[in-house]
Symmetry: C2
Subunit: 211 residues, 2 copies
């Protein structure tokens, strides 16, 4: 496993979580950290952390631990987020409006460059700096905008159709907020966001604290 130069998806997911902790520690002024700190932050074993960090190349020094800034930078490079990514958003409803305004996206280099909807009443509306465009123009506009990612923020009934429309434009990845499983051609990465999972985890923690 550790000989594979590319982290698995499970490792990539943990790298994102390490990065959140490291960013918090950096804001608090911490300069160095250890696999034990990261393990405690995620509630996993230190051996797993060391294995995960082995994908990052040389980021630690024996006895000194890891420099917070170095590990954060190496994780960004491994995840491919040490550069900007541009995305189009399909569905100009409440969720899309919230996402366009979501501070975290722009802070981490994800730019929403286009906003599309099938509803004629929404087309032409301004949302932050974007004008809602017709979903029929998606193919032409994705190319013009150079967008690499698509975000599906439509009701579940429309999600498969919108996913296919995005796949046809040449975007390389789709982030799906609709509670529906998208079946897209191989070669298109799909990540499903399930907003209920965290609510389930909260219920679990509340219940566990009561017992």
């Amino acid at each position: 496993m550790a000989d594979d130069p590319r982290p698995s998806r499970a490792t990539a997911a943990r790298l994102s979580l390490y990065l959140r902790s490291l960013e918090g520690w950096r804001r608090d002024g911490l300069v160095t950290t250890s696999s034990r700190d990261l393990a405690a932050a995620l509630g996993i074993g230190a051996a797993q952390v060391r294995k995960d960090l082995s994908y990052l190349g040389r980021v630690g020094r024996r006895g000194v631990g890891y420099r917070v800034a170095d590990v954060a930078g190496a994780i960004r490079a491994a995840l491919g987020i040490n550069r900007e990514w541009s995305a189009v958003l399909v569905g100009a409803g409440n969720l899309a409006r919230a996402l366009v305004r979501y501070r975290g996206f722009s802070e981490r280099g994800f730019r929403v460059v286009g906003l599309f909807d099938a509803d004629a009443r929404k087309i032409g509306q301004r949302v932050e700096g974007l004008i809602v465009e017709a979903v029929g123009d998606l193919g032409r506009r994705v190319k013009a905008l150079g967008a690499e990612l698509g975000i599906v923020a439509v009701p579940w009934e429309a999600a498969q159709e919108v996913g296919e429309a995005l796949a046809a434009t040449g975007v390389r990845g789709v982030l799906n907020f609709a509670p529906a499983v998208l079946r897209l051609p191989a070669g298109i990465a799909v990540v499903n966001v399930d907003l209920t999972i965290q609510l389930e985890q909260l219920a679990f923690q509340v219940q566990a604290a009561r017992e």
Copy 2:
């Protein structure tokens, strides 16, 4: 670890993911499954799956595998989601409106029973079946509504204050959508939803496919 009757948070997170796969398989008409199927669905080892499922008591039969419905039911019981949970939502902006309409919450037994905002212009507005109430009434209303969970859907600048207001009402857990770290009293469970993490994972997969 396996002697501890209570799953860790990391195990609980995997239980939620197993449940998603099991629900999909059930919709597709599958009756039985195996630790190997679940391992493949999550991209982890079958030994880890078997260890996680050991928290559920007797759900498998030697040589027959697991019944999809039995494992799903046992996971719901372990997570504490084999019953309804009621939540109040603070912040009546676009994200809150999207969450109130989000099909996945009600499908899994999470009911939003109250909606609150500090903005006098929003108070009194109707969002689906709910009327936006004043955040100043939170304490009184949470008790009247019997809500156990609070959801923070305000801008990050207001998140800490709203989190403290929720904690003072007696809710047992807070789901935080604001990109801010909440510091709440011990005894209140807090789960932070970071909408950027999945976008990072998508970027990673797209980059990995290119290499």
